[in-house]
């Protein structure tokens, strides 16, 4: 993400700066190198993976074999993890975005008692690291009997204080009060004016929040780790972790090659989404950074 922002800035500058080019060049290498390593490693058999130079191809080109092994290993559980992840992301990140838009808009456009308190709580929510809440959340969910169910992953990801804050500031700026006033005068209900008028205006901010939540949910690891025990419910992150841990288990099957290939397959969808939506991401980020 950093890379995109910096590149955006460079384009707008009229003067060329050697230092800046150099810095972005270094940044580029820094971000791309691990990716290159991952792509090259995914083409290797396990023996080559451990036995040949990391930044070039191995003796055998095993990419397709690796991909097919990844999808067939342990009765094809990898495919199940892909579907789980997509499900968690669609429901979790989608729901979080919708909730953030509704709440952010509401807080920006309606004056009511306790608005400042809500503001303080939301800011406080951003400040608390999710890791600190993990164990209390686990105990609470356990009491409700929700651990080891898909809800244990979805419910925590439905709440996004940062997304809410972003939608709040964005709504304040992007939706003129005049439009809403005239809609009210014309007799439109509040929900109608939100969905028909405000939502289209909020689109860039909405996409930004969606992307944030998407990345967050797609990569979420710790919450599923403590909540889920049943491998059939794992998202990709946790599944790959469990495969990697087999190397630490006596009698476990060492499958570094599949972990690598699985990791590559895991980041492809995210990369695609980013390439498609990066324009919104940039403008949304900028909106969040300057508007208070």
């Amino acid at each position: 993400m950093k890379k995109n922002v910096t590149m955006g800035v460079t384009k707008k500058k009229t003067k060329r700066s050697t230092v800046l080019t150099l810095v972005t060049g270094l940044m580029l290498i820094y971000t791309v190198l691990p990716l290159v390593w991952l792509v090259l490693s995914a083409t290797k058999s396990q023996e080559d993976l451990l036995g040949t130079f990391g930044l070039w191809f191995g003796d055998d080109f095993a990419l397709f074999q690796n991909i097919s092994d990844t999808f067939t290993y342990q009765d094809g559980i990898f495919g199940r993890w892909v579907l789980n992840t997509v499900f968690y992301v669609v429901v979790g990140a989608g729901g979080a975005t919708l909730l953030a838009a509704l709440a952010g808009y509401g807080l920006a456009k309606f004056d009511f008692r306790g608005r400042r308190a809500v503001f303080a709580i939301v800011l406080g929510g951003i400040a608390v690291p999710p890791t600190a809440l993990a164990v209390p959340t686990f105990l609470m969910f356990a009491k409700m009997g929700l651990t080891d169910t898909p809800w244990a992953v979805i419910v925590p990801s439905l709440v996004s204080p940062f997304g809410l804050y972003l939608m709040w500031t964005y709504s304040t700026e992007a939706v003129p009060n005049e439009i809403l006033e005239s809609a009210r005068v014309d007799g439109a209900g509040e929900f109608r004016s939100f969905f028909k008028l405000a939502l289209p205006l909020l689109a860039p901010g909405l996409v930004t929040v969606l992307l944030f939540n998407l990345v967050w949910t797609w990569n979420s690891f710790f919450m599923p780790l403590i909540m889920l025990k049943n491998a059939d419910l794992y998202p990709l992150t946790l599944g790959l972790y469990s495969w990697n841990r087999q190397a630490n288990t006596v009698g476990g099957d060492v499958v570094f090659d599949l972990v690598i290939t699985g990791s590559l397959l895991t980041i492809i969808p995210l990369t695609v989404v980013f390439l498609l939506l990066q324009r919104y991401w940039q403008s949304g980020l900028a909106a969040g950074s300057v508007k208070q």
Partner: protein, 447 residues
């Protein structure tokens, strides 16, 4: 089966200790979760099998899969749900979390020997004497049978064991004309000769590992931990501990140990390409070499563990685990039936056939087991060496009732000696002090 000896996931270890102490408190206020041995009898176990029911089993050992399947065929009324809740520490964290929350506690849980006293002491796992476990005396090797006891009571049944042996890369040894060491003196000499001949090669990798350190002290006759109820002593000043500290310090000082961390991809790479030439480790190692270091197929061999006294025959255990019945489980009689099936009945043989190293004397002494030739080890009858080691384990060892915590702070104390800060003797002293302090905080009488 086992594993551990990884300093990573400090966070997990930390939350374990926090929760462990919390559990210790809550269970003492709440005696009815402790389920004493008197409430369930052998007849109840048989009746439970008859009645059937559902069992949730937490185990990371891959050989349990087949055992669970066979068990359900034999007892169709029982449904077993096998869950891999993580290996070692990961699973203990999950287990303590579940016990703490009071829901989601499995009926059966795999626990390593070094961690078992901790779970036994705070009554997280049920005492099994009354279930019929007391009658199994003699079925298991003395080392593993001792390991599932705490305060004279049985808290689990052994499912595997790790009598130690010297695994070495014969090709590397032959190439540099190094004789297989029989004593630790010879081992140090071999380390020096090898590293001189090939600066990239090391005799072994050791960046500091609590399990390995305690196992070597164990072999040297040291008894740093003594436990009697809540009276605990920690003393790393005995003869066995200092034998280890002196000898191993020589290897550290001469930089003859590879700093590669165990169980990483780099480690497997070293085992495969000959830059890590030996491993002194538990008998469970062969299957991991076979799957993780394929490049060295045919090159490794197994020899008896190097000795502290020339001509001696003393070994120690490294790793190994048991199946336990968590006290909060809903159907403990049925759970015990499964544990027994997996540990001593048909399951024991099934697991050995799948590559596990047995804890039962019957399987250990079976001709078929001893005569099995391992192609990975150039056709060597590896189990002969390993089974011999099982019979030579020094008796009288015990772990602390808070060993999981103690091992988690090993890196901050003894581990420093490996990076040149102080020496092993100082490190062991620091480990001792920190363990004593923690033990006192937890309400133990520690000396």
């Amino acid at each position: 089966m086992t594993i551990i000896r990884r300093r990573a996931l400090l966070g997990a270890a930390l939350s374990i200790t926090l929760l462990a102490s919390a559990t210790a408190c809550s269970s003492s206020d709440d005696p009815d979760t402790g389920a004493g041995g008197g409430t369930v009898s052998e007849a109840d176990v048989a009746a439970a099998l008859e009645a059937g029911g559902n069992l949730k089993v937490w185990a990371w050992d891959t050989t349990i899969t087949k055992v669970a399947a066979d068990f359900q065929v034999k007892y169709p009324k029982v449904k077993v749900e096998l869950v891999n809740a993580g290996t070692g520490n990961d699973q203990y964290t999950a287990l303590l979390n579940a016990i703490q929350a009071g829901t989601g506690v499995p009926d059966v849980a795999q626990i390593e020997y070094y961690a078992l006293p901790q779970f036994a002491l705070n009554k997280s796992v049920a005492e099994l004497d009354g279930y019929g476990a007391a009658g199994l005396d003699g079925k298991f090797t003395p080392g593993t049978w001792n390991a599932v006891h705490a305060g004279g009571k049985i808290y689990g049944l052994p499912i595997d064991s790790g009598p130690m042996a010297l695994f070495y890369n014969k090709e590397v040894f032959d190439k540099h004309q190094i004789a297989v060491p029989t004593t630790w003196e010879e081992y140090a000499a071999a380390a020096e000769k090898l590293h001189k001949a090939d600066p990239k090669a090391y005799i072994t990798s050791d960046s500091g590992d609590a399990g390995f350190t305690t196992s070597l002290i164990w072999q040297a006759g040291g008894k740093p931990y003594t436990v009697s109820g809540t009276d605990v002593t920690v003393n790393f000043a005995d003869a066995g501990s200092s034998k280890f500290a002196t000898q191993w310090q020589k290897l550290i000082d001469a930089k003859l140990l590879s700093p590669v961390v165990g169980w990483t991809d780099e480690w497997y790479k070293g085992l495969g390409d000959g830059t890590i030439a030996t491993l002194v480790t538990g008998a469970w190692m062969p299957s991991n070499l076979e799957s993780g270091a394929k490049a060295a197929n045919g090159k490794w061999r197994v020899a008896p563990m190097p000795q502290w006294e020339s001509g001696a025959k003393a070994t120690a255990e490294n790793g190994g685990s048991s199946l336990t019945v968590p006290a909060a489980g809903a159907n403990k009689a049925l759970a015990y039936a499964f544990v027994k099936y997996a540990a001593v009945e048909e399951g024991a043989k099934t697991r050995v056939d799948a590559g596990a190293f047995p804890a039962t004397t019957a399987e250990l002494n079976a001709t078929e087991f001893k005569n099995k030739e391992f192609p990975y080890f150039g056709g060597q009858k590896v189990n002969e060496v390993l089974a011999e080691s099982a019979g030579q384990v020094v008796s009288g060892w015990s772990y602390l009732p808070f060993q999981v915590y103690a091992n988690s702070i090993y890196g901050d104390t003894v581990g420093k000696a490996y990076i040149g800060q102080g020496n092993l003797t100082d490190g062991l002293k620091a480990w001792q002090d920190a363990s004593v302090k923690y033990g006192q905080e937890q309400g133990f009488t520690v000396k």
